[in-house]
């Protein structure tokens, strides 16, 4: 594990030979690192290449909820990540051999800074924050999860988007050899998600690199995933390899799969039902498993809150927008 000041060693010097930055990328990396002087980061974020390695220099966030987080087991064994299979336990089962380093992110489109960046260079100018967020799945279950990441707004700022950049598009790695779920046509690959520029630069969304103070597990989207806490979980795209600044809105993966069921906005909203289930209530995941019938009967559903309880921070983004039409 490396703990060093921003100026110490350039990450390119410790990168493996087949992955060193060429001159062009080096210049881009320098451009990225420039931002760190302004942000005054105490510790540059580093991501160790080792499962469950502790992340260093994490600071708490005022945006965190004080609700009790779900157990590490709940968070890492029950989720959707169709790249590794369609059942809830598939991501955990099928992602253990996934190699998430080295990792690069391609930045393209209407922004001053474009190019392909090593993940370590992307995160280095920033301080890691812990954000304990509620996660609400469109399937009417929810969790509370202590993510570790970097505010998306800060990362976007580095790329200096142009005024023509109306949307930020994210793409997941497409590699059926490494992601067995992609051998099936359950979705159209690669997975594409998108936020408006106003949503993306809101203080709430983060690019997560960790969970429970440790490196992000493969099944949860390692090494880099989006977290947008006021939207249904499928908006929070995992395994990001591309960020594109676009003038127009692409059709996102779930929109393409079932347009009448999954909309672009996908804001958590108890008033707008999904065709196959009500969104009025949610089941908070929590394995009281083995606790007998008593715990089963006491695990009542709880009411869902509009914008997943983050209305204060984000409701203004949708002023004048009919959320029933724009679901």
């Amino acid at each position: 594990m490396l703990i060093r000041k921003a100026a110490d060693i350039r990450s390119s010097e410790i990168t493996s030979k087949d992955h060193y930055l060429d001159r062009r990328k080096f210049m881009q990396a320098a451009a990225l690192a420039g931002g760190s002087l302004l942000s005054g980061a105490a510790l540059p974020a580093t991501i160790p290449d080792e499962k469950r390695a502790k992340l260093e220099g994490i600071v708490p966030s005022a945006f965190s909820t004080d609700e009790k987080p779900n157990s590490y087991t709940d968070v890492t064994t029950y989720n959707n990540y169709y790249e590794f299979g369609v059942r809830k336990e598939d991501p955990y089962r099928n992602s253990q051999d996934f190699e998430s380093q080295p990792w690069t992110v391609q930045v393209s489109g209407n922004a001053d800074v474009n190019g392909t960046f090593a993940l370590e260079d992307l995160v280095k100018p920033h301080t890691l924050e812990e954000r304990i967020y509620r996660l609400r799945c469109v399937e009417a279950w929810s969790m509370v999860i202590p993510w570790v990441g970097i505010p998306l707004a800060a990362i976007i700022k580095q790329f200096k988007p142009l005024s023509s950049a109306q949307y930020v598009v994210f793409e997941t790695l497409h590699d059926p050899n490494r992601m067995p779920g992609q051998r099936s046509r359950s979705l159209r690959w690669p997975y594409v998600e998108c936020l408006t520029i106003a949503e993306a630069t809101n203080p709430l969304p983060i690019l997560a690199v960790g969970l429970y103070g440790e490196v992000l597990p493969n099944q949860n989207g390692a090494p880099l995933r989006l977290i947008v806490p006021w939207k249904y979980g499928f908006k929070s795209v995992k395994g990001i390899v591309r960020i594109h600044f676009s003038e127009s809105r692409p059709r996102t993966s779930w929109e393409l799969a079932a347009p009448h069921e999954y909309g672009f906005y996908a804001n958590v909203n108890p008033e707008v039902s999904h065709p196959r289930w009500s969104q009025a209530r949610e089941r908070r995941i929590g394995s009281e498993s083995g606790g007998g019938l008593q715990s089963l009967f006491s695990a009542a559903k709880q009411p869902t809150i509009k914008f997943n309880g983050y209305g204060e921070q984000v409701a203004h983004l949708y002023d004048g927008l009919d959320l029933r039409q724009n679901f």
Partner: protein, 216 residues
């Protein structure tokens, strides 16, 4: 018509007493294994229910309900093809187990998932088509269960068989309910649908091309 009912034939290779005191109780206990397993998991003895215990229970009961309907429907073709007429003696028990597991699936939904919130329950049954058809399947199976006794069968006479052909309706609705509920990856419901299709085609084929009177 009686050929479709069967089970009353005399060429059974099993003695009645053997059937009644050994084989029927054995099959009965085997059919209960999924239920025992569920109870064991609830108490953390045979395993656990994972991060979403209610969903886990609901899904497994629903799955077993569908499997038992299909198993019960396989009995007659198997009997006809193999000549093992004693198979017919297990058909009602298997059908009743199908109802039992479907009922458990429904009760899990009603009590544990919905928490007996009647407004949400009626909304779901009315407004969510996949729940509507699942509920319809349950109503059919309930009717068939209520008329499954020897007394009811005698009383209904020829109408009994007509009524009990509705098991195909229940099976079709059940598979459809499952198919609709899963999102995109429909491999498991597809397997059930394929088995059901084979069973239906087999029966239709016999109906059209063979004189059912010949079946004994």
């Amino acid at each position: 018509m009686t050929g479709w009912i069967s089970g009353r034939t005399s060429n059974s290779v099993l003695k009645n007493s053997q059937l009644r005191f050994i084989w029927k109780p054995t099959v009965f206990l085997i059919c209960l294994i999924p239920a025992f397993h569920a109870v064991g998991d609830v108490y953390g003895i045979t395993g656990d229910l994972g991060a979403n215990p209610v969903e886990n229970l609901q899904d497994r009961f629903g799955n077993w309900g569908l499997r038992f309907i299909l198993i019960a429907l396989t009995i007659t073709p198997l009997r006809i093809q193999s000549g093992w007429n004693w198979l017919a003696r297990f058909r009602r028990m298997l059908g009743l187990f199908a109802f039992f597991y479907v009922l458990m699936h429904f009760l899990t939904w009603l009590f544990l998932d919905q928490g007996l919130l009647w407004s949400a329950i009626t909304e779901d049954i009315i407004e969510r088509p996949f729940i509507t058809i699942g509920f319809a399947a349950l109503l059919i199976l309930t009717t068939l269960t209520a008329t499954s006794t020897a007394g009811m069968r005698r009383r209904l006479g020829r109408r009994w068989q007509k009524l009990h052909y509705w098991v195909y309706g229940a099976a079709s609705l059940g598979v459809w309910h499952y198919w609709w509920q899963v999102k995109l990856e429909a491999s498991e419901p597809l397997i059930y649908a394929a088995i059901l299709a084979v069973l239906l085609i087999y029966r239709l084929w016999r109906r059209i091309f063979l004189n059912p009177q010949r079946e004994k």
